[in-house]
């Protein structure tokens, strides 16, 4: 999911940085000081959750959960994901500094988009409607992220990356399914245990 340092070209890096800058500005404006501990502690939780490896057949994938992140935090997913990725870049050298803008946007934009989608359907009293939309939230966020990563590669390295880009998207399919399933269970869990945590349900707009 992370694009490493040195891969992308100047326009892609610059574009990503600018978009992330805008996303951060919106996110930080929405996050008033009362909200700050919540965004921070939840982004720590997402950081830890991303260390979980779930088995897929003989291999394993680590969780990303940007769909749930968007559902819980809305635009504030931008600062939350930015902080998480920066810490990963400095602590584990995953991703990097110059590609931080691109990587943040690739994960946070799908989070925000699918998050708003999810908030809309989550109020539904019908279990099937909820389950389907939760699945789409989780899977869709991964799909969008995969598409963005593939697009960045093609933009930076040219046509020759077409097959690599297709492979990136193909490789995301099993992860999409897993993330979709996990998103269903996690959001249903939250709805059962503490629904007021999900903004869409209590009518609190953020």
């Amino acid at each position: 999911m992370h694009i490493s340092e040195g891969v992308l070209s100047a326009p892609v890096l610059g574009g990503g940085a600018a978009l992330t800058f805008a996303g951060l500005a919106i996110g930080l404006r929405k996050m008033d000081y009362e909200k700050l501990p919540e965004v921070a502690v939840l982004s720590s939780a997402f950081f830890i959750a991303s260390l979980i490896h779930v088995p897929i057949g003989p291999s394993a994938a680590h969780l990303i959960l940007n769909g749930i992140c968007g559902a819980l935090l809305g635009w504030m997913a931008f600062p939350a994901i930015f902080v998480g990725l920066t810490l990963q870049a400095v602590l584990f050298e995953f991703g990097g500094l110059t590609s931080l803008g691109v990587n943040t946007f690739n994960m946070a934009f799908p989070a925000v988009a699918m998050g708003y989608f999810c908030r809309y359907f989550i109020r539904s009293p019908s279990l099937p409607v909820r389950v389907v939309s939760e699945f789409i939230t989780g899977a869709g966020a991964i799909l969008l992220s995969g598409l963005l990563v593939a697009a960045c590669l093609v933009l930076a390295l040219g046509e020759s990356m077409d097959s690599a880009a297709k492979l990136v998207i193909l490789a995301h399919i099993p992860i999409m399914i897993i993330e979709g399933l996990i998103t269903v269970f996690v959001i249903e869990f939250i709805l059962k245990v503490q629904p007021e945590m999900l903004p869409g349900t209590s009518g609190v707009s953020r």
């Binding site: 040195g6 501990p37 602590l91 869990f189």
Partner: protein, 247 residues
């Protein structure tokens, strides 16, 4: 959790002003990332290498970090040399290796490793809290700075909670497999972590209010540039500019 493993040391690299470290790393990264000359990028490796040697970091551990990170690069090696249009230098059945592709793959590899080594040499040799303090002196917005502080502080609490929950699952005979039971169990784990984090954040806010929090954060740390900091900042920035203009 094995993090900040390079930050304990007392070399002069460890002791540099964190503001200098951040600025130098950023400038260097951008200069290298945007360069497209193999020779120049290769020369750029000198600076992080020298710093890593001066910082007396465990070479094996540094290499291990590099090995993990280079996975994505390896992926590009599977494509670039074969699919980039250009002069064929070797062909084997349907596979042809192109000079341009090879060049590009090599360039990316060197760039990537150079920047990562620089991050290890300068940033990983400081504690996160120190770096974030430094960020607050580098015009990073107040809210973002405190987001970093809180996030890193609670990563440790939540990591412990996570660990204890995983142990509880193991204790009850849980073995991860590719099935619904496994995914459901992991989801419950994640859901529990999120709910506990959410509620903890409410309590933290309460604790802040009880201590008179009025929507303003104060930073107690101040840094003073020493001669050495100026020297390193000057020479590394000069090196970066040289790289930028070198052809």
């Amino acid at each position: 959790m094995q993090i900040e493993e390079f930050s304990s040391g007392d070399s002069w690299v460890h002791k540099l002003d964190p503001r200098v470290k951040i600025v130098v790393t950023l400038v260097f990264s951008v200069v290298v990332a945007l360069n497209s000359h193999l020779e120049v990028v290769a020369i750029s490796l000198i600076l992080p290498f020298v710093l890593i040697i001066c910082a007396r970091l465990n070479f094996g551990k540094v290499m291990l970090r590099l090995a993990i990170v280079n996975g994505f690069i390896l992926f590009l090696w599977l494509f670039l040399p074969f699919t980039t249009p250009g002069e064929t230098i070797y062909s084997m059945g349907p596979l042809t290796i192109q000079r341009e592709g090879l060049y590009q793959a090599l360039l990316i590899t060197l760039k990537s490793n150079s920047i990562i080594l620089m991050v290890i040499a300068l940033l990983s040799t400081s504690r996160i809290f120190t770096l974030v303090h430094a960020m607050s002196h580098l015009w990073v917005p107040d809210k973002l700075v405190h987001l970093f502080f809180f996030c890193f502080r609670y990563i440790h609490v939540i990591h412990e909670e996570y660990h204890r929950l995983v142990n509880a699952m193991k204790m009850r005979g849980f073995k991860p497999r590719t099935n619904m039971h496994t995914y459901r169990a992991y989801s419950y784990l994640v859901g529990m972590l999120l709910i506990r984090s959410f509620n903890r954040s409410k309590r933290v806010l309460h604790a802040m209010k009880c201590r008179g929090f009025k929507r303003k954060f104060y930073i107690l740390h101040h840094y003073e540039m020493k001669r050495f900091d100026y020297a390193l900042a000057g020479s590394s920035l000069a090196f970066s500019i040289l790289l930028m203009v070198a052809r």
